[in-house]
């Protein structure tokens, strides 16, 4: 007889027989799963978001980031090409780049034994390679070329940088598929970008919960009292959910701001406060800037990026992993290099909605930690994901968890679960 509460090693990591309408809680806490994700998801056939080209405009500019939990450096070399290398010395592993960002670099020198790398990640100098006074030195057949920094395959599109540990990856466009390219280009049309600033938070929950959160449009009309109160997002707003053509791991959630009205669609929402108004209305005066009717488009690009367009707030939300039950969210807010000062001001004001202190996002970071607290020790139980049916198809409404089901459908394939 099975016991009511099983521990991790008794589970055998077998997906519940119901398929995508159930998510077993061990995917959020198992060290085994975490290890497999580093290898097959972040280290496997995926393009990870790295950064924006405008963050490293000149040769010699560099910044640190992570792919999954692995520290990497992205930089612009003398030829103007973007390079992504691991921040791990090819000799004995020192994290040789100490600065989080910088410029004017011509080479990286590891402090330990001064192995030296150029901006393409090639080893250019190994001190005492030929020994000292005929003593020591590297073996005669030591090949500097074969002992450079580990490099990632780089893909860029319209100013956005992605990279993969898998050098056999197809193009980025093929990777996300035509439907997702269309949504991607809506924000990234090739118009030059500028960074407005960073926000970074460490959240004590599994990284997949943040993806689920943004692939779940129906929580927004219930959890986010602020959004509901200001009609920024409501269950009855015209909206849709779409997945990519292949694995369903990339998706968009599209919505259009509607009028405030109290009717049966809001009667279910307990905390609805229809009469709420801002004391400083300047905070929220959205201006249309993209083609089409949508006012909110949240695009997730597997496995580590959410592109946020909520009114005029534009941000890349990048996932860095810390462990099975902890991750970091790195937000890069941006605008366009040629935009007006007023538009930049709008973005900065509307940023109050998002991030660790955001009127909306603070609800999410709180609830994500509460989920982890709820499921961490109940690895043998499952989440029920049946809103909008049990399928994984695109929908033209938001009362659905279809994108979460599609996500886990694809996830199982990638992970071999």
């Amino acid at each position: 007889m099975a016991t009511a509460v099983q521990t991790d090693n008794l589970l055998n990591l077998k997906w519940p027989k119901e398929g995508p309408s159930r998510v077993p809680y061990w995917v959020y806490s198992s060290p085994e799963i975490y290890k497999r994700e580093q290898e097959m998801v972040f280290g496997g056939a995926s393009y990870n978001y790295i950064g924006l080209e405008c963050e490293i405009p000149k040769p010699g500019d560099f910044r640190q980031t992570k792919v999954g939990d692995k520290p990497v450096i992205f930089m612009r070399d003398e030829d103007g090409q973007v390079q992504v290398v691991v921040n791990r010395c090819a000799h004995r592993g020192v994290q040789f780049c100490y600065d989080m960002h910088g410029s004017g670099k011509t080479e990286f020198i590891c402090p330990y034994h001064q192995w030296t790398y150029n901006l393409k990640g090639e080893t250019t100098a190994v001190p005492f390679r030929r020994g000292l006074q005929k003593q020591g030195g590297m073996p005669g057949d030591f090949d500097m070329k074969a002992n450079g920094l580990q490099k990632l395959k780089v893909a860029t599109r319209h100013g956005v940088i992605f990279a993969s540990f898998d050098h056999s990856m197809p193009s980025f466009e093929e990777y996300i598929g035509p439907k997702m390219v269309g949504w991607f280009d809506r924000v990234f049309s090739g118009r030059p970008l500028k960074v407005l600033g960073y926000q970074r938070q460490r959240i004590r929950c599994n990284w997949k919960l943040v993806f689920e959160n943004i692939k779940d449009p129906y929580h927004a009309s219930l959890l986010h009292v602020f959004l509901v109160s200001f009609s920024l997002f409501r269950a009855d707003n015209p909206s849709k959910v779409q997945m990519d053509e292949k694995l369903g791991l990339h998706s968009v959630l599209v919505s259009q701001r509607g009028e405030k009205k109290a009717d049966d669609t809001t009667a279910d929402i307990r905390q609805n406060q229809a009469s709420f108004t801002l004391a400083n209305p300047l905070m929220l005066q959205p201006e249309k800037e993209f083609p089409g009717e949508a006012t909110v488009v949240m695009q997730t690009i597997w496995p580590n990026l959410m592109v946020q367009q909520q009114s005029n707030t534009l941000a890349m939300r990048q996932i860095h992993l810390v462990g099975p039950e902890e991750f970091e969210l790195h937000w890069t807010y941006f605008g366009f290099a040629d935009e007006s000062e007023e538009m930049t001001q709008k973005r900065l004001r509307q940023a109050n909605l998002m991030g660790p202190a955001g009127y909306v996002s603070a609800d999410d970071s709180e609830v994500m930690e509460a989920i982890q607290a709820g499921i961490s020790k109940y690895a043998a139980s499952d989440a029920v994901v049946e809103m909008g049916g049990r399928g994984v198809e695109d929908t033209d409404h938001m009362v659905t968890e279809t994108a979460i089901r599609a996500f886990y459908d694809g996830y199982r394939k990638v992970m071999g679960l």
Partner: protein
Amino acid sequence: MTTTTKLRAEDLAALRAEIDEFNTAYADCLDDGDLNDWIGFFTPDCIYKVLPRENLEQNLPLAVIYAEGHGGLTDRVVGVTKTTVYRKRYLRHFITNTRIRSVAHDATGGDTVRAEANYQVLETLPGEYTKILNAGRYMDIFTRQGGALKLKERLCVYDSEMVPATIVYPL
């Protein structure tokens, strides 16, 4: 016209004591008081921001909290008390090392004081150990209104790039 003043040592000490007094009351309001009273520490046209040091140093304008005027502060208070859903928590502010950067008098007899202080805010969630929520410095511009100092601008610039999941209350 505004003139920068060089204060005598005892006036400087008195001003520093006054700012310390101000910050003690400010901390008391956020730690154990009524959040609505927080607005009264600022001038009606104030700027209040919480931002990471990295943004300040790279001249990036983004903040984590950006409130303009009493209206913006009021919205924050309403946001925290009426629309945000979060676990209960307690804050404890430690504000020290007050330094006065400059003092200016204008023709109408007002003072503009630029000052900085270090802050550390501890946060306690029920069932957990107390942790450091945020640490950094206040970069302040005070003005005198009706005899009392008010904040025309307070930038809470935190040193870490990273913050724990959620900053609910103002710092």
